[in-house]
Amino acid sequence: MKKSVNDFKMNVLSRSVNESFCRAVVGAFAALCDPTVEELSDLKTAVSEAVTNCIVHGYRDRPGRIYIDAALLEGNVLRVKIRDKGCGIEDVSRAMEPLFSTAGNERSGLGFTVMESFCDSVRVRSAPGKGTVVTLTKTITGKCDE
């Protein structure tokens, strides 16, 4: 296990206005280690995907809480956990397939694909009826002022 150099935790109500709030907060935390513009937008996009999934699928637009736990680990590795206590996912590997979506016309089914292409790793743990945790990790090439 890598040691944590810095971290924060927060939880927010699952309202769609908080999608931009969550990615901005994680972005501000990541900015402390001087990422490139591209690394920062990659991370914000991935966080936006995971948070939106909690709101749209996990809680199905009903009120709930989204728990974000971010850490900067040794070696400039950012790890962000995004968790909901919503409906959970029956079949995680199927959910992660490109273009798979249980939602209607306005969703592309690309959320997990985008997270995977913009992060070093994406881990999903889910239990039907209990909720879902998505763990994103991404190495930042910038230097931290430690």
Partner: protein, 101 residues
């Protein structure tokens, strides 16, 4: 966001951040103008977009369902290289009556 119409071409100049929250408003504004004007071409202009996630792809795909039904061309313009890559994950570049500009 502003929507303009010129000679059968309806252009939606999307601005700011596109996520699930903001896409709802963009969707209803574009759809209302589309129904009102029945254009032969619908241009979604992303050049004023500062951030988008897959909700931007969903916005384009959702509009495509409507343009295709009306034999209208859907043009995706002004995408950054990165957003274009995201858009292409959906396979839209291979769909009939879709153009990237």
């Amino acid at each position: 966001m502003t929507i303009t119409q010129d000679n059968g071409v309806l252009t939606a100049h999307l601005t700011g951040e596109i996520d699930h929250h903001s896409a709802a408003f963009m969707r209803s504004a574009v759809d209302a103008a589309f129904v009102r004007t029945s254009p032969k071409e619908l241009v979604l202009d992303f050049s004023g977009v500062t951030f988008m996630d897959s909700s931007g792809v969903g916005l384009a795909l959702g509009r495509y369902k409507k343009t295709r039904e009306q034999n209208c061309t859907l043009v995706l313009a002004g995408l950054s290289e990165r957003d274009k890559r995201m858009m292409k994950l959906s396979g839209m570049q291979k769909m009939e009556m879709v153009e990237f500009r």
